[in-house]
């Protein structure tokens, strides 16, 4: 049933991360449409068989290529057929000079783009695009970035696009002298995407990747080059490799985000990464304790406001989960820093307000 767009018997497919999917069809409408589509299905089966047969017989002529195209246009998930397509292309460009090869692969990219517009979340199409670009020594990376931008305007959270972006950036960095400038430009871009939608898991993830790289190596730029004052502050922090200052600044951003939407899981997960061993191991104990204690107090304050607002007077689940996590981090530094009664009390409340994960909370006990 779920092959018919807009109709699914399994309601969990109807929304992702709380976002509604497209309009639903009634069962009778869906059946009607299935009946209409039956001749198409028959045609498809016939085509599928034809293509697989010619793959078996290793036929690499124009006619079989056209059939492959036709079949992939209908169903982009057939990886066997994509591989057949790759075999055909390798066969065709074998012995060609770079320019002729580029021309053929450009045509291929055009076909891939048409498919991506229809199926922006298909692993195999993205895979094929990367394959083509790797094969071609004359690829236009800038053009790929433009394309990514358009895809992100349509769906800013499509993680296929984000990981494709990381691939392109990596390729650009490989041939550039200023790979750190590229990273910082990416940081700028990712920041703007997070500002647009703080529930963007992919953007937060990309931010964490970039921060790691920028702490490794960051460009020296003037304030005018950067433009935005806030971003310039970040750059100075990267230049100085000042982890403590970074955490203080980044946790301000986190605080703004949780106040904007206390129920947004992506932000809470990002905090967990910030207060993980990755950074904590690089700063002094005093600094660690200051940062975590302040953070716990901030979250407690938010939780108080949430309790006040919630009709049933319940705590905010994410606040408690995070406080518990942070107390555990404190406990690792110094056991005396944690009031265990308080800690256990939070776990008890969590078991009550989130009974589905009851055992998980019992497990967290120190």
């Amino acid at each position: 049933m779920s092959f018919v767009r807009g109709y699914s018997q399994n309601s969990s497919f109807e929304s992702i991360h709380g976002r509604e999917k497209s309009a639903k069809l009634s069962e009778s409408e869906a059946l009607k449409r299935m009946e209409m589509e039956r001749p198409k299905v028959d045609k498809y089966k016939e085509l599928n068989e034809l293509v697989l047969n010619s793959k078996l017989n290793k036929i690499y002529n124009k006619q079989s290529f056209e059939l492959i195209t036709k079949l992939l246009e209908i169903n982009p998930e057939l990886y066997t057929v994509w591989n057949y397509r790759k075999e055909y292309l390798i066969n065709e460009i074998d012995g060609m000079n770079e320019i002729n090869k580029h021309e053929i692969l450009e045509n291929e990219l055009y076909f891939v783009l048409k498919q991506l517009k229809k199926f922006p979340k298909s692993y195999w199409i993205w895979n094929h695009r990367i394959w083509c670009l790797k094969l071609d020594n004359l690829s236009d990376w800038e053009n790929e970035l433009k394309l990514i931008k358009q895809f992100l305007t349509v769906d800013s959270r499509n993680f296929h696009v984000w990981s494709y972006r990381r691939f392109i950036i990596k390729c650009m960095k490989d041939i550039s002298k200023d790979s750190d400038i590229i990273d910082f430009e990416e940081f700028k871009f990712t920041t703007s995407m997070i500002n647009k939608d703080i529930s963007n898991y992919s953007a937060w993830h990309n931010r964490s990747k970039l921060i790691e790289m920028l702490f490794n190596k960051s460009p020296v730029l003037s304030k005018d080059d950067v433009g935005d004052n806030k971003l310039f502050q970040y750059l100075l922090i990267f230049n100085n490799k000042d982890i403590n200052e970074f955490l203080i600044k980044e946790l301000e951003l986190f605080k703004t985000a949780i106040y904007t939407d206390p129920d947004d899981s992506s932000v809470w997960f990002y905090m967990k990464w910030l207060i993980s061993e990755y950074f904590l191991n690089k700063i002094e104990n005093d600094e660690k304790i200051d940062i975590i204690t302040k953070l716990i107090n901030d979250i407690k304050e938010l939780n108080e406001l949430e309790i006040e607002d919630n009709e049933n007077g319940n705590d905010n689940k994410w606040c408690l989960i995070s406080i518990v996590y942070l107390m555990k981090q404190l406990y690792k530094i110094d056991k005396l820093l944690v009031n265990l009664d308080e800690f256990n009390n939070y776990l008890t409340i969590l078991q009550k307000i989130d009974p589905m994960k009851r055992n998980r909370y019992i497990e967290l006990n120190i």
């Binding site: 055009y110 358009q150 939608d197 703004t256 106040y259």
Partner: protein
């Protein structure tokens, strides 16, 4: 026909949109085609419609697609009637007609027109002035109808994102989506939280009010008590986001109005409203008339109803033709031969000003219009009602570069000049703010107040704009040589039969059908509602009265069935992509879609 603006057929299409235009746009009598000279003798029609205002035009199209034969006339030499988009010359003629030699019902009063043609060489046709400007919510019945009827083919739309609220002598920009709330430095953390809570509450599919709510609680108190929002935010939410012009609106109605703004975000892109380029309701009326013409409606401008014999079902027009009416006559009030009994009138006061400033400072990047709201008690005139203001820049296609059109209106009473004082007071504030904003000296600001992008001119950050608003308090005109000059200023009071303060008329239109004593159906006059809400419902109401049922309202198969299903599936995506394209074009980003640019590059190389 002498003075008019180029129509959709004659305009050069904006490149991004050219692809979705039908190859043939139906031509209209009195625009691309000469006006119909003579109607056939002993003409026989089902319905005669007088006046080509928006509701009438939707009706003409709906009825003729349903199979009803329609004759559609207008006493004016242009389309649009009291929602027309006019040139300066047409405004002059409208002024004379409305003020002096108009026969029949006068639906305008207190009209004053000032035109400064000496200092500015005004080219009349460069301007498209809406008599009752409107903006379109992406989630609205009119937009659905534009798509269903395919009339959107004859129109172009642009996004409108900037909604300002005038508070403490400052034009604050509305923070009404998650991004604005998250990034704003002006809202403190706790207000961010409360505001987001309210947005979540209002965007749930069904608004559920708490059980223990006091009876008849006002929207103001509801927001204060249940969401603990401060007065500034409350004003912004009710009057700017909700575009509500009655401060005493009932709670649930107010919430529904606020909701349409929130739900309209991200339907076709990250903006809450659209407007039709080259003119508002006038342009859309024309679009529906083209659709009606395709379905067989006969058009004749410069023609009006002279008399109607209800018993013998014959109508005589002023061109002498004698028409047999099988069903009914529908007319706008100002083109009707008599008015319905017991019809009360209410007032909307408007000022339309053309100024010699671009007003780009008020627009979002890549856009060319904005909304400015003066909430109650924000003006020196102690205004009881809000003043709503729509600014249209040159990219709207309604005025030349470096100029803009300011539309202001209020439903305040005209007794003791209350309304006009409110409007003038708002106009003065617009002037002051604009001059201050466009002439301030960047040296007054430090690094925190400014951002530089790509070495272009500096842009104010929020701390910068707060400083600016403080300086506005002390600002006096005499310190500045800058002046705003008016090319045209038109003020008038428009009458409407819709009581804006009656909760029954929440969408701007009322439920009953007005009829004259000889059974002519009178279409409601334009309301003060700034959006197009209520217009389709009004058309459906009259459609039902004539056809008996509105289930087949625009129920037309334009293509064969299979294609139809695919199109309906893809249409939303298509429009979405197009709107994105438009925005991209405006942002000077890639002007073509990827597909096109790739094709282009491939051509270059071959």
């Amino acid at each position: 026909m002498s003075d008019r603006r180029p129509s959709i057929v004659e305009r050069r299409p904006s490149s991004a949109l050219s692809s979705r235009r039908p190859s043939i746009i139906p031509q209209l009598e009195g625009i691309e085609k000469p006006n119909t000279p003579n109607l056939p003798e002993n003409m026989n029609v089902d319905v005669l419609i007088c006046g080509t205002g928006l509701i009438n035009s939707i009706l003409a199209a709906a009825l003729s697609w349903q199979g009803t034969s329609v004759l559609h006339i207008d006493s004016n030499p242009y389309y649009g009637d009291d929602s027309a988009t006019l040139t300066i010359e047409q405004i002059k003629n409208w002024f004379i007609g409305s003020k002096f030699n108009k026969t029949g019902f006068k639906n305008y009063k207190n009209i004053h027109l000032y035109i400064n043609d000496n200092d500015f060489n005004i080219v009349s046709k460069d301007y498209g002035i809406d008599l009752s400007p409107k903006i379109l919510f992406p989630r609205s019945s009119l937009l659905d109808l534009l798509i269903k009827s395919r009339v959107y083919h004859y129109l172009e739309f642009q996004s409108l994102s900037n909604f300002h609220t005038f508070e403490n002598n400052n034009l604050g920009k509305l923070n009404a989506n998650k991004e604005d709330i998250f990034t704003s430095n002006e809202i403190d953390l706790n207000s961010k939280r409360k505001l987001m809570k309210f947005l979540k509450f209002i965007s749930s599919p069904v608004i559920e009010l708490p059980d223990n709510l006091p009876k008849d609680i006002s929207i103001q108190n509801f927001l204060k008590k249940n969401f603990k929002l401060d007065d500034k935010l409350i004003n912004e939410i009710i009057f700017t986001l909700g575009l509500i012009n009655n401060p005493k609106i009932q709670l649930i109605d107010a919430l529904n109005k606020i909701k349409r703004y929130i739900l309209s975000f991200n339907i076709y892109g990250n903006f809450p409203t659209l407007y039709s380029k080259f003119g508002g309701p006038g342009e859309i009326s024309q679009g529906f008339c083209r659709s009606a013409a395709v379905a067989g409606t006969i058009y004749k401008l410069n023609t009006k109803l002279k008399s109607y014999d209800f018993e013998n079902k014959t109508a005589i027009l002023n061109d002498g033709s004698n028409i047999k009416i099988n069903e009914r006559i529908i007319s706008s009030l100002n083109q009707s031969i008599n008015k319905p009994e017991n019809c009360k009138f209410y007032e909307i006061s408007r000022i339309i000003a053309i100024v010699d400033k671009s007003c780009n400072e008020w627009f979002q990047d890549g856009e060319s219009s904005s909304i400015i709201i003066f909430p109650p008690n924000s003006l020196n005139s102690q205004n009881e009602y809000p003043v709503q203001c729509l600014i249209m820049g040159s990219e709207t296609g309604c005025c030349p570069k470096g100029r803009s059109i300011w539309y202001l209106h209020t439903i305040a009473p005209t007794i003791n000049d209350i309304a006009i004082n409110d409007l003038n007071s708002a106009l003065l504030k617009l002037e002051e703010n604009y001059i201050r904003e466009s002439t301030f000296n960047f040296n007054e600001f430090n690094d925190d107040d400014l951002n530089y992008y790509n070495n272009n001119k500096p842009i104010l950050t929020e701390s910068g704009s707060m400083k600016l608003s403080k300086s506005l308090l002390d600002f006096k005109f005499k310190f500045s040589n800058e002046r705003i000059n008016y090319l045209m200023k038109l003020s008038f009071t428009q009458l409407t039969n819709i009581d804006q303060l009656n909760p029954e008329n929440i969408n701007g239109y009322n439920k009953e059908i007005l009829k004259t004593d000889n059974n002519i159906i009178i279409v409601n006059m334009p309301s003060s509602e700034l959006s197009y809400d209520g217009i389709v419902e009004e058309a459906k109401k009259i459609y039902k009265e004539i056809v008996g049922d509105d289930s087949d309202f625009f129920n037309v198969d334009f293509e064969d069935e299979e294609e139809e299903i695919e199109i309906s599936n893809e249409l939303d995506a298509e429009i979405k992509a197009e709107v994105e394209e438009i925005i991209n074009v405006d942002n000077n980003q890639t002007t073509q879609s990827n597909q096109q640019s790739e094709e282009f590059e491939m051509e270059l190389e071959s």
